[in-house]
Symmetry: C2
Subunit: 338 residues, 2 copies
Amino acid sequence: MGVSLKDVALLAGVSIKTVSNVVNNYPHVTPAMRDRVQRAIDELGYRPNLTARHLRKGRTGIIALAVPELGNPYFAELAGAVIDAAARHDYTVLLDHTAGLREKEVLVCQGFRAHVIDGLILSPIELEAADLLGRRSDDGPLVLLGEREYEAPYDHIAIDNVAAARTAVRHLAALGRRRIAFIGARRELARRPAHLRLRGWREELTAAGLPCDEELVAATDGYGRWDGAAAMTALLDRGAEPDAVFAYNDLMALGAMRALVERGLRVPGDVSVVGFDDIEEGRFSATALTTVSPDKQAIARLAVERVVARLTGTPQMHAERIQPGYTLVTRESTARRD
Amino acid sequence: MGVSLKDVALLAGVSIKTVSNVVNNYPHVTPAMRDRVQRAIDELGYRPNLTARHLRKGRTGIIALAVPELGNPYFAELAGAVIDAAARHDYTVLLDHTAGLREKEVLVCQGFRAHVIDGLILSPIELEAADLLGRRSDDGPLVLLGEREYEAPYDHIAIDNVAAARTAVRHLAALGRRRIAFIGARRELARRPAHLRLRGWREELTAAGLPCDEELVAATDGYGRWDGAAAMTALLDRGAEPDAVFAYNDLMALGAMRALVERGLRVPGDVSVVGFDDIEEGRFSATALTTVSPDKQAIARLAVERVVARLTGTPQMHAERIQPGYTLVTRESTARRD
DNA sequence: CTGAAAGCGCTTACAG
DNA sequence: CTGAAAGCGCTTACAG
């Protein structure tokens, strides 16, 4: 249906190869020839068929990004950053969301849409190390994002979650808070997501000589605002009497703040709150949220660079664990006075 | 590098065609033959090369979605819905964002990544009708989303923005509000985005016999929280004394509420606020936000169905304007008492 | 510096 | 019901 190299070659009276050379800016083409071919290209409105190029080169220029949930602004913002970073390397991004379901995560990392994507950036939630074994070498590079850690030969990009959590808790302790709760341990999967941030909470409380009663740990089912609110309500109902809350993410922290206000408690007067992610919403909530701010731009950039490096570079690179930076951004929710 | 049909055919001792038949579940294959071939497929771990299939069939199974900004939860939620709707038709989504820049929008709709995507769903902001003329027939179907209207032969899916805006304003008027402001007219592009919602505001105020002073219209540069806050502040500063605000979207409404609170005004006591989009954040803000809720699922579903229909159906379909439903969701920000 | 051939891996008519 | 051939549109060696 479309115009092909052959048509252009015919019109210009040259071989297919010459047209290809012009299209690809191959340097050794005489200006006159280039001009003649270009005229034919313009006249026919020729555009190269990328699918054919892909088949021939074995590359598509498409990277897949799979995040749990676009409804979580952290992942939406991250996706935007990945798209921009990929564009800088002339890659396009195919976006998928897994709802944090192991089944979907497995599907994605075991070569779904193989051959169509050159590489994959995955932010797993429930994926198990064993699931990674099923991945084949011809599925292209895989870069893992986020808190989950695996013994597997794949690059992993994540901030130091334990240290970041400790920074948050240290900040609360420095305000004089003594009963610092943690919101966000998964109910059925205690050991997994939230694991590192929970450990940071424990370590820092211990270091500060503060109690880390299990009573102060509130489990949740999901990662959203409602989960945070429900967890906060549960904490209050069971009489845990926290004077501070460190939440697994901003969404839960926001939910917790709402629950606190509904109970007639003031933030930060009665309870200080710290979140994690630094989504724009937290900057703008009624009480602006103090939060751990991972360098999303760096995460996106490093992930894309890593995929591209493995695609174009030496295949013998070791799997690396890369830790981008983070900062604690203090706002109203942990102000000293109300 | 990979395993091809040929390898499988060789091992199974059949022709390539037979393997292809098995892979594609072609019905007329004897069970014995199917079994033999399947065994060879399993043994070699064969997976079809989709790129080759794409080249041959002229289809890739990829739809592109281009939205202004993933940082706006409305578009993030919509993108999620489109991905799900596409998956139901066995399509994958390539996501792009335009930042609402005409240049980027033009690039996207004039065949960027042609041949790689079967169709495009675009939510334009600054695109002009003339830009659409440059699109070629072999670029595949294009479905437009959102408020902008064009005289162009493309399907357009959007709720009735004028009617929806009127519903919002009517709600405010019914509460006894008399000075109802509109936030969100673009500063330099007065006629364009926000155009229909602004018209709805005018029409309804006129119908209700209320003033629609230009003083009550606050222009913004962008579409975010800060723009809403700045516009609200400007309204107050110029002494417009609004007792209600209808904002172009939820993000701006949220920003406006924050600005009101900072000025010591109560929502809804002093000023009632209505937004547009129904993002989850609005349900959860300190004062839950009343909003016009477009049926995002329907928008996503219709957009994908339309692309798929044009890809598979009769090419002679007329361009249609499709209006999904919407509802006004009333919450605290327009409650009768504070 | 340009050309003719082969082939990436598949599907689509066309035979048998 | 299965096979042999052609071709989707390109790029990659290889000649000249």
